[in-house]
């Protein structure tokens, strides 16, 4: 198994719903301690992994990959063993009915999102948004109350599984996929810069809170924000999506540094690493929106990996894209830019 796959699987095992940083950040740190010596956790729960340059007085490079995932917090225990939840991040209502979930209470257990069978449904009714769904736990009301506390995290259940042609599916590939690419690159790279991989918190929950704090603390000379992007799919236009299996993509945007972006494109060409481009004029939908205006200003570029079914129970991605992104980031860390 490649290092990036190994790291990815470790990250996917740790639920990372916003609000629970004090539980999950130490677990992330533990999982990574076999690969890295310098790992720190800041006040909001960002995990920063550091590798020193082989040079003295080197410039600082920061690779940001948010580590939080979409999910839910328990808001109420209902009669008959059902839970109500509040959504954390943009939950796709179309993927909820009959999905398996993991209720992350002190003793975690599996449960299922209720659905209405065709025998009983009105065909054209709207799907329930997350705050309206019922999660079926199978427990009696009393037992459920003793097992679950309001605020416990709930995530989509499901282990990563292989598809054909080097693709994989799993919940929470957004954004543990990019985190794994960045960490594997850091693990393998001979760093020319003092290099930080910032596993930032609270991207999905809004406000880019983790990245704002983490980037400001580190004050890098250059930041590369790594997040997933839309793979080409039914209903996704070519101009807003990238192709799976054709490598990562770099974003062309008014919010990022064009020189840095072009340098990355040249580097990929020179090293024969597959790289696509996508125009995201004024909204990158990621921490890249705010990276440049953090602290005293940071030269920023955005690189992404294509996934299908974003924010669903089974996001799908290509392992070759993951490997290409790792290679590209390792070259950047190695000072080729």
């Amino acid at each position: 198994m490649t290092v990036e796959r190994e790291i990815l699987e470790k990250l996917l095992k740790i639920p990372t719903v916003s609000g629970h940083e004090s539980e999950y950040a130490p677990k992330i740190k533990d999982a990574l301690s076999v690969y890295f010596d310098e790992i720190s956790i800041d006040g909001v729960g960002n995990v920063a992994v550091f590798k020193k340059s082989k040079n003295t007085n080197a410039k600082k490079l920061l690779i940001d990959a948010h580590i939080d995932q979409i999910g839910f917090l328990v808001s109420k225990t209902e009669e008959d063993g059902f839970l109500r939840v509040a959504s954390i991040g943009g939950i796709d209502a179309r993927t909820l009915p009959s999905s398996d979930v993991l209720v992350c209470s002190d003793a975690p257990f599996f449960a299922v999102v209720s659905s209405t069978p065709p025998h009983l449904s009105d065909s054209d009714s709207k799907l329930a948004i997350a705050s309206e769904i019922l999660i079926d736990t199978g427990f009696s009301s009393d037992e459920l109350k003793s097992r679950v506390r309001i605020g416990d995290a709930v995530v989509f259940a499901g282990l990563p599984a292989d598809l054909a042609c080097g693709a994989i599916c799993s919940p929470a590939l957004d954004n543990k996929l990019c985190a794994a690419a960045a960490l594997a690159a850091l693990y393998e790279a001979e760093c020319e810069y003092d290099t930080y991989v910032l596993l930032s918190v609270r991207e999905e929950s809004g406000g880019f809170v983790g990245a704002r704090v983490g980037i400001a603390e580190i004050k890098p000379d250059m930041a590369i924000v790594c997040d997933v992007n839309f793979a080409r799919a039914y209903g996704a236009q070519n101009r807003e999506s990238i192709e799976r299996g054709k490598g990562p993509s770099v974003s062309i945007s008014a919010l990022t540094d064009r020189v840095l972006t072009n340098d990355i494109i040249s580097l990929a060409k020179q090293k024969e690493i597959l790289l696509q481009t996508v125009v995201e004029a004024s909204d990158l939908g990621s921490n890249a929106n705010i990276a440049a205006i953090t602290a005293e200003g940071v030269r920023t570029a955005a690189i992404s990996l294509p996934i299908t079914n974003m924010h669903s129970t089974s996001e799908c991605a290509s392992l070759s894209d993951l490997c290409d992104m790792k290679r590209l980031l390792a070259e950047i860390m190695g000072g080729k830019i």
């Binding site: 179309r94 009915p97 599996f110 659905s115 069978p117 025998h119 427990f139 598809l163 939908g285 974003m310």
Partner: protein, 351 residues
């Protein structure tokens, strides 16, 4: 409940309507030691005979082995598979679910437009049939065609697990749970050395979910005096459902239908089933809201008409990858059918 492992294997077996052989082979292995004879007919219905003390009358038990599923209808240039649904599946339970495709059992994921790219007021609409496809990981038609073909069957891939204290969750419990009860019943009769007063025919049928069921064919061949269909039923028992719309309750025993959307059941048979449970102290309940239909409709109108009963496990989330059944209901249904079969009054009243 014993033998959860067998129910798990039945739930996970690949058996969309029209492609049930993996399921029937699994069942055949289980029942062969207990049955007096076993055969598979031209459609794939698996039939076991358990001889009674006397053979002048015959009772047919039937459970269907197929599940709702899919068939590959087109392979696109992008490597994505278009599909048709086999049986009634609401599109709300499809997106992001894992599926298994074809003889190669290739894993896929049901995909559609990412929701961020859908207009805000349409984000709570279930995707239309034409907007859904299966992603097996292939990035071109050529890659896909090496793994799957047009016409390949597919079904959900779903983890079987225990839910809470008494329940189980898995795909295809409609009607593998009914088939499971029949297997356990046969095993129990054989192990206890009990022979009913009549011959018992146990049919594991095909194609129920398509509406053109194989059950009628078995009834036509076997010509029983009466039949009992062992099924699952939707129950509409979620919290907040008004009382008048509820069908049944989990934990209340097998559901006896007096009426559903495809059958009107003979009143004397319904009363007898309820009476039998009462006399033996077995929980049971009557279906309170008219919905669904099953193989009883096909069996009932076979030959010159066959008296038929339907007993169903109260089941949540039918026709989804996550059906939920209560183990206590499975035990109750097994006890209930066992009592009907062994009760000395049954031959006179029901057959």
């Amino acid at each position: 409940m014993n033998n959860l492992e067998l129910l798990s294997r039945l739930s996970c077996a690949f058996g969309p309507s029209g492609c049930e052989s993996e399921v029937t082979k699994t069942i055949e292995k289980e029942i062969t030691p207990y049955a007096d004879s076993v055969y598979t007919d031209t459609l794939g219905n698996l039939v076991a005979v358990y001889k009674g003390k006397s053979s002048d009358k015959k009772l047919l038990l039937a459970a269907h082995t197929d599940e709702v599923g899919f068939m590959v209808s087109e392979i696109e240039d992008t490597g994505m598979l278009c599909f048709s649904k086999l049986g009634g599946i609401d599109n709300s339970v499809l997106l992001g679910k894992r599926v298994t495709v074809g003889d190669g059992r290739v894993r896929g994921v049901i995909s559609s437009t990412p929701f961020h790219l859908i207009e805000k007021d349409k984000r709570c609409d279930a995707p239309s049939d034409g907007a859904l496809y299966i992603d097996i990981g292939a990035n071109s038609r050529e890659e896909a065609e090496k793994l799957v073909s047009l016409g390949d069957f597919a079904t959900f891939e779903s983890e079987f697990f225990e839910l809470g204290a008494h329940k189980i969750k898995g795909k295809a419990l409609d009607d593998r749970a009914g088939a499971f009860v029949m297997i356990e019943l046969l095993c129990r009769l054989y192990t206890e050395g009990v022979r009913p007063d009549f011959d018992l025919v146990l049919a594991f049928t095909v194609r129920e979910e398509l509406g053109y069921s194989g059950a009628g064919v078995v009834a036509a061949r076997e010509n029983p005096n009466a039949a009992i269909v062992l099924e699952t039923t939707a129950i509409a028992d979620l919290c907040g459902t008004p009382e008048h719309k509820r069908v049944a309750e989990q934990g209340g025993g097998a559901v006896i239908s007096a009426l559903d959307r495809s059958s009107i059941y003979p009143r004397d048979a319904v009363e007898y089933a309820l009476d039998c449970a009462k006399r033996h102290g077995i929980p049971t309940q009557i279906k309170k809201f008219i919905s669904g239909g099953n193989d009883a409709a096909h069996i009932g109108k076979t030959l010159d008409g066959i008296k038929v009963l339907a007993m169903s496990l109260p089941t949540r989330y039918l026709h989804s990858p996550a059906c939920v059944v209560d183990k206590r209901d499975i035990s109750s249904m097994l006890d209930h059918v066992y009592c009907i079969i062994t009760d000395p009054k049954t031959k006179e009243v029901l057959l």
